[in-house]
Amino acid sequence: MKEPFSEEILSAYLDGEISPDERARVERRLERDPRAREQVEDFRRLSQIFAGLPRTELPASFAGEVLQLAERRMLIPEGSVRPARGRASRWVLGAAASMAAAAALLLIIQAIAPDHNGPAIADRGGFPRPMQNGRDAAAPDIAKGSDGAFFDREGAGTRPSTTAAGEPAAAPVVSGVGGFGGRGGLPGLSDGTNESHETDPRLAEFGEKIQEINDSEDPENIVSAVTVYVVDRAEGLVLLQRSLEASNVQPEGERERSEKEKADTIYVVAEPEQIITAFSKMLDREHPELRVEVEAPIKVATLDRQTQQKFDDLMRDLSGPHAAARELEKADIKRRNKADDGENEKPVVEPRKGAAKPEGAGELKSQAKSAKSSEDRRESSNPREQAAQSQDAPADAKNESEGMRGPAGAATGRQFVGRAPPELEQRDQTARKNSGDSRRSAETGKSAARDASDRAKDQQPLAGNRLAARSPLVRVLIRVASDSPPAPDRPAATKSAP
């Protein structure tokens, strides 16, 4: 009787990966089949050739280089990053610079940052070390910068990393500039490296999907669908392609797609951070033709110009020169926010007394509050006040986070500004104030562009830190849809793109 026989079993036989029964079957076959014998013999010779391939040894300094590079990735000291090999450094620096503008945007909506379970920062030669009091004493003093409040807030109040006795927490983690991002150790993107999608509600849902992908440890990964709505299909497609390419995210053709899918989708495979960077850039540039939507319930929209102007006005108001009046307001706002926390979301931001409350401020109050909180922390020089702010921070963040992420947030059509200038305007204003020039410049918005290089420098730690970790590749299907009549629950502002 003829035995069923698959040639694959010959390889398995050679590798000792078969059962005793299979072995007996193969050996019977080999006895009577010269072709099978020849095949096994050739396989054996191939193995010998492999065994004879030369092996090279890396220099003894390699481990040190790796540790240095890892440290630099985490700390990215301003102005000087040169990893051991040029390619990696160019990528990090280039991406860091390109992320600077997006980072500014994130500061506006900092209150979205979820509870931080992020990494301890390390000092020279010992980066994965436990933190003390939620903040590493040796961390770069970035909190002193204009963005300090953001870091301060995240670093001071919310990270359970050490016990009172200074013992390391159960899960010491390794990277991050004591800052934003990581929601409890999102692999690859967390550890303070993924502030974008963690703080930007437009990318929050996307970030969560990527977390799922990473958590699954599935090397095949998952296809996530992101819908990009375009006003003009051809123009939108070009812009989308350019935005992706600018972040080295190249469309792929590997996935089998139907003809219709091919016409309506772009399929990309890249590291999550690259994709997020691409979307961040896309949003940051505020192409009116593009609107990104990462499945329900998050709705993402760029603002129409009128609403944008209102928002800008509001931000200008909040960052105006009347600091004394604002000081009085702070206590009031805090009190009201606390009350609101009890009532579930709806943070309150009041414009400065005497200033007209801009139209549409209500729908923008979450961002405004974030920005104001940021400003409050920046401007506060009173340690007690800072401490009070830090204590408030987690509740604020939680409140905002829930509001933004949940269906309720989507249902209310919250809109987020896809650009950096308001935050930068704050900086400009603060700088002017400090220099004795409290004049409000009509050119404030344009100053963002002029200060681009300063921004990049200021925020290099932030951007660099974000890029510190690499992750498995994510396969993303980007659906391209025409942004014709908006869905009932879609923010009306999205339609008004020119």
Partner: protein, 192 residues
């Protein structure tokens, strides 16, 4: 006495960075040489090795210990390699190109042998590398992990994330393709 991987990882997570340095030193050459075979380029292999270790360091707290550290590391390396490969256009593969690309200076493991023999060995190795480079990525990876890492099918399945039967099939198909590509070389008398 060298410490087990898990112990070094635990030390590293407690803040003793040098423990990770020990892990790097332990696996750097093994990973690098395997990546040279998978990627066909010493430069790429160097970059990916470095990147894999840096990523592993940064993600160390996510390592659950369900698999061996090296398997986990190699998965990270494969992801890094895939990422890097996608950024580069696919290189035309030829024996000469592969030799130039790889930059490998093969070492004659039989110093007493005659020069012609060394040349033949070099050519054979180059031919093998070129043929390897022509294999589909998934076949090449599976075969390299088997032949160079001497991993079990189960380990390979875990690293590349596919069923055991798929690993078996990939390895066999890779061997069959190599056998066909290197038929003339395999007919030569074996002296290695």
């Amino acid at each position: 006495v060298s410490k087990p991987d898990q112990e070094l990882i635990a030390e590293c997570l407690k803040g003793q960075t040098h423990a990770f340095g020990d892990l790097v030193a332990r696996y750097q050459n093994r990973l690098y040489n395997t990546l040279v075979a998978v990627l066909g380029s010493v430069d790429d292999a160097h970059d990916v090795t470095q990147e894999a270790f840096v990523s592993a360091f940064q993600k160390l707290q996510t390592f659950k210990g369900r698999s061996a550290f090296y398997s986990w590391l190699f998965r990270i390396a494969l992801n890094s390699a895939a990422s890097q490969r996608r950024k580069k256009s696919r290189l035309a593969v030829s024996i000469e190109a592969t030799r130039e690309e790889s930059g490998i200076e093969p070492v004659d493991r039989h110093p007493a042998s005659r020069p012609e023999h060394a040349m033949e060995t070099t050519e054979r190795q180059s031919a093998v590398r070129a043929a390897l480079a022509e294999l589909a990525e998934e076949f090449r990876t599976a075969l390299v992990l088997k032949e160079m890492e001497e991993m079990s099918y189960e380990q390979i399945a875990e690293i590349v994330g596919c069923p055991l039967g798929t690993v078996r099939s990939r390895i066999h198909r890779a061997r069959c393709e190599l056998r066909e590509k290197l038929s003339s070389l395999l007919k030569e008398p074996c002296d290695s």
